[in-house]
Symmetry: C2
Subunit: 327 residues, 2 copies
DNA sequence: GGCTATAATGTAATCGATTACACAGCAATC
DNA sequence: GATTGCTGTGTAATCGATTACATTATAGCC
């Protein structure tokens, strides 16, 4: 027979209410009683049934991350799995758990969210890959469920988020290139509808004003091929390249190598590969593990205290070989 | 007020038992009643509360993957996130969900398993990174919870698993190298306690007998640095390299390049980077997405029908530049 | 001493489903 | 016509906790 709260109560000669209190608000129980109950709990290795708890307390202690199929590339991007790992680990320190899932191509973007909410399976969500006008944010706000976004946009300013200083990152990249006397920068940005792309372009605009260079922006989709393609079709028109992901920077570097051209190139993210690649890639470092942990903490706070938190984490330019060539 | 089964029952003028039957075993309900109830369920957008269901039926429809901190490298290995994605997606097709988590360094290997089981949070586990003598398998078997391992060993032969034909993969690699007239192969295997390493060495042993070459085995830990280190300290002693992961093969290739040595090199896994790297890496391809999906299916079958399933998926040698050099 | 506030505990309702069991109605069987 | 079996449905127990409310004991105060 599985031990449950009633059995503990019986053996300890107290009521189930008291056992429950010992577990959930020990300060409400007298020292003596508490000790007695705790001893028996330990002896019998009793652990409360989470389903029963959730049912009654209306808290499941589950958080979901739903990766849109449209962001499938995330799964082969090391940035992402490290983020997920840190979110999960930090959540578990608060006794929360992470459900990780994807949607199917034919489904509505918000469908999985709806199901999780309607089934009462989760207490909140971490929203990745934020768009400028994000359907999921509208939906979650309407449904009133706690959530935190990784990234921020101009539209949804009253919600919890954790972001890195993408604006500054792009600014630093532009500054560094201008110091190399570059005057015409090819900016391979991410997808135009992603909020992260907006911030990065803003940073580059600022830098171009402050340091007096021109740039032209093209939109890639973060993976290597798009960086390569954009570079190939713009050869000869620019004297430097700034890409919004390391993979796109690497794509660019490969094309340059093939064509025997030598230009300063800067990437974004600082994935492990960037230091391994030859030439090693100058890039904007983001503290991705801290982003994950902070997202978890913000969400837990939002759930337990209804508190909206906004965090912007610093970035830094990591100078390696790819930007230190003469144009 | 949230709609629950009682409200549906009231409006449809039937009992809650009937509503429950319409949802869970519609064939037991008369056509007419069923139609009536279904209509109201749809109208009110009723979705059963999963916690209540789980509590009563003792099925949570949750599966967990617990990545040991000792296998931390998995998180930056693209192989892994694709595996997780496919497991999760396939599970969701059976209305199961995936909890992804890691343990903390100071914890016992089985601690998180214990907690999930004791809290009654999950119906089963997917065990990754299988060891030759795997504590987790002992533990789960003792506790009687359904699980499937990715990989197999000689000890635990009566459990569900999905594996790739690592033995054959290594055999094919050895064969290919011997066809290039290699006679002394440096085999950079994975960690010795991992079952996958055993199978790969077996395959190479077979090949060395069949095709008459020598080899010496060293154990790396799957990441690039270990491949590089082992290569460096064995320069000049071998005329070919076979590494048990693409990352280690790449590490080896970098050292060879630095030293100006040219040897055939073969990797394992076929991660995206392998075709991108220069030289592109000849490698043993594993159908990782199918491994993930099959693991999910096997586990669901094990849970619902108590059926033990063992699947071995095929591998193939993908010949690229790294093996096509003259020694 | 009587009154009130506070601390400690117990009783029982409750969360929202599933399901064992009972029973009614009807057809088939002898 | 009685018996058996099957279909369809309802009643109520149950899963295992949390928690509103009631109750008792004790201390503090006038």
């Amino acid at each position: 027979m599985e031990t449950n709260i009633a059995e503990i109560a019986r053996i300890a000669r107290v009521s189930t209410a008291t056992v429950s209190r010992v577990i959930n608000s020990p300060e409400k129980v007298a020292q003596e009683t508490r000790g007695k109950v705790e001893k028996i709990i330990k002896q019998l290795n009793y652990v409360p049934n989470q389903q029963a708890r959730s049912l009654r307390s209306r808290r499941t202690r589950m958080i979901a991350i739903i990766v849109p199929h449209s962001a499938d590339y995330l799964f082969s991007y090391p940035y992402f799995s490290i983020l997920v790992k840190e979110v999960s680990l930090e959540l578990s320190r608060f006794d929360y758990h992470l459900i990780l899932t994807t949607d199917e191509p034919q489904e509505a973007v918000t469908e999985r969210y709806r199901v999780f909410i309607d089934k009462k399976m989760v207490d909140g969500f971490v929203v990745l890959d934020l768009k400028n006008d994000d359907e999921r944010v509208h939906f979650l706000r309407e449904r009133g469920l706690p959530f935190v976004t990784v990234g921020r946009n101009d539209r949804d300013t009253d919600i919890s988020f954790v972001d890195t200083d993408n604006d500054l990152g792009a600014y630093l990249a532009g500054k560094h290139l201008s110091e190399k006397s570059c005057k015409r920068i090819l900016f391979i940005n991410g997808l135009a509808d992603q909020s992260v792309s907006v911030w990065r372009e803003r940073g580059l605009v600022r830098a171009s004003r402050d340091f007096g260079f021109d740039y032209e922006v093209f939109n890639g989709d973060f993976i290597e091929e798009s960086g390569a393609a954009i570079t190939r079709s713009n050869l000869g028109k620019f004297d430097a390249i700034f890409a919004a992901s390391d993979l796109m920077a690497i794509g660019a570097l490969k094309v340059l190598k093939e064509e025997g051209v030598s230009l300063p190139v800067i990437g974004f993210d600082d994935i492990p590969l960037s230091s391994e690649f030859s030439p090693s890639v100058t890039t904007v470092h983001q503290p991705i593990d801290e982003v994950g942990r902070e997202a978890a903490r913000i969400l837990v706070r939002q759930i337990s205290q209804g508190q909206v938190t906004k965090t912007i984490l610093p970035v830094s330019l990591v100078i390696r070989e790819s930007s230190e060539v003469s144009a």
